[in-house]
Amino acid sequence: MERVAVIGSSMTQFGQRDEWIVELLSEAGLACLDDAGVDASDVEHLYVSNMASGEFEGQTGAMNALAQDIDATPAYTQRVDQTSSSGGAGIYAAWQSVASGASEMTLLVGGEKMTHRTTGEATDVIASLTHPVEYKHGVTLPSFAGLTARHYLDRFDAPRESLGKVAVKNHKNGVDNPNAQFRKEVDLETVLESPIVADPLRLYDFCPITDGSAALLLCPESVAQEYADEYAVITGIDGATDTHVVHEREDPTVMGGVVESGEGAYEMSGREPDDIDVAELHDMFTILEFLQMEGLGFAEQGEAWELVEEGDTERDGELPINTSGGLKSKGHPLGASGVAQGVEIYEQLVGEAGPRQVEADVGLCCNVGGFGNCVITTIMEAAQ
């Protein structure tokens, strides 16, 4: 099986944008091709990660529209929807297309246009992924976070402040990301005194609603060397699914999809948690950063908060987490987020992360759909 390389990346400005979904996808797609110096006519497969452009905007078939707008026809196109993990699932689909030999140049573009909807409407589109017994009670993704956070804090005797420190850290990192939605530091007091959204979690424990797009360009490693001196290789990738009904999980503080996909990615790459130099985790809610740190083996169960308290996950810490600012500060345009995680890890590995740069040869990203319902874990390494 051919090793799969990443040779280009791009990310639009995340935030409140005037452009609609196809325009956002085009902006990121063209910038990615420019970044790699590849012509659109060389693209053989084009994947679009998107959760709900039909529901948000009334625009379906975005992959077809994008192919024409960037002049990539007649490349094979496919939309990838796996709710909030559509981006990670897109990386998996793009990796499969190259690893299988079906494509020698695959463009992946993720995007979502959300901010024209009210917070309630956007929350409802996302909550539509829930089971009918959850939906009829008005259960939302933020309410799952509140339920889980209370259980975690009580069970592991973790201080409420430790969750706030995740938000403080990721906002601090976002200041140095020119494409982040929020480039503003927040202090712990502000986080802990912000309005309650899902008790015990408050406004600053949650990511914002965001418009934006991100892209990656993948090809066989043998082809990569024609285009780039510096590139990354996807050495491990796996996806897994947990229960649709969240309360049916045996342990509310364990995300089975994170554990399973992490183990698969580690096994494929031959790496272990200690080998990871930098990670992008799906911090849609602060509590999710703890659950992924533990599910991926960066911390024992119930102890992730201690690493945060000790500063280990800061940019200058032992394992920098969410150097991009994470979903918390960078923003969360659903279908784009997993791709944007890949963009950050790629840029860290090829030395293009600017003021956010850390020393890294091996990076990991974990993209979570629903409340851990579907998860993709990807390990990338700098080409040697």
């Binding site: 959850e134 008005g138 259980h151």
Partner: protein, 119 residues
């Protein structure tokens, strides 16, 4: 109205029911959870609710123990004055959420059900 959980051939119980249970076990019986009390595992009060949902919305995950087998459920709570470990009972409600106010097709699912009330 009932709050039907499925019992599978291996003795496990799930709410809601599924065509197949753990390890592919087939359902063999239903149990009306509304006839039992449960214990609060965790709870939250959501203040940012979507269209058609009461605000604030008190929610809890509760655990029933039936003949030594535990089964969990999620649902609205009648009050925000609730504690982990508290005993609650299901009370019927004709409409938990306004059908048609949100994105889901009203005819695609039921909208009545049970809230949990401290005993």
């Amino acid at each position: 109205m009932t709050m039907d959980a499925y019992r599978y051939e291996d003795g496990t119980i799930s709410y809601p029911g599924h065509p197949r249970g753990p390890d592919g076990a087939e359902p063999v019986d239903t149990i009306d959870l509304s006839e039992f009390t449960a214990e609060v595992v965790t709870w939250t009060t959501s203040t940012a609710t979507p269209p058609g949902v009461r605000e604030p919305n008190h929610l809890a995950i509760v655990e029933f123990t039936i003949e030594g087998e535990s089964v969990r459920a999620i649902g609205q709570v009648t009050t925000g004055e609730i504690e982990v470990g508290e005993e609650v009972r299901p009370v019927s409600v004709d409409e938990l959420r306004e059908p048609g106010a949100g994105i889901r097709e009203p005819a695609s699912q039921e909208w009545d059900g049970y809230r949990f009330e401290p005993v």
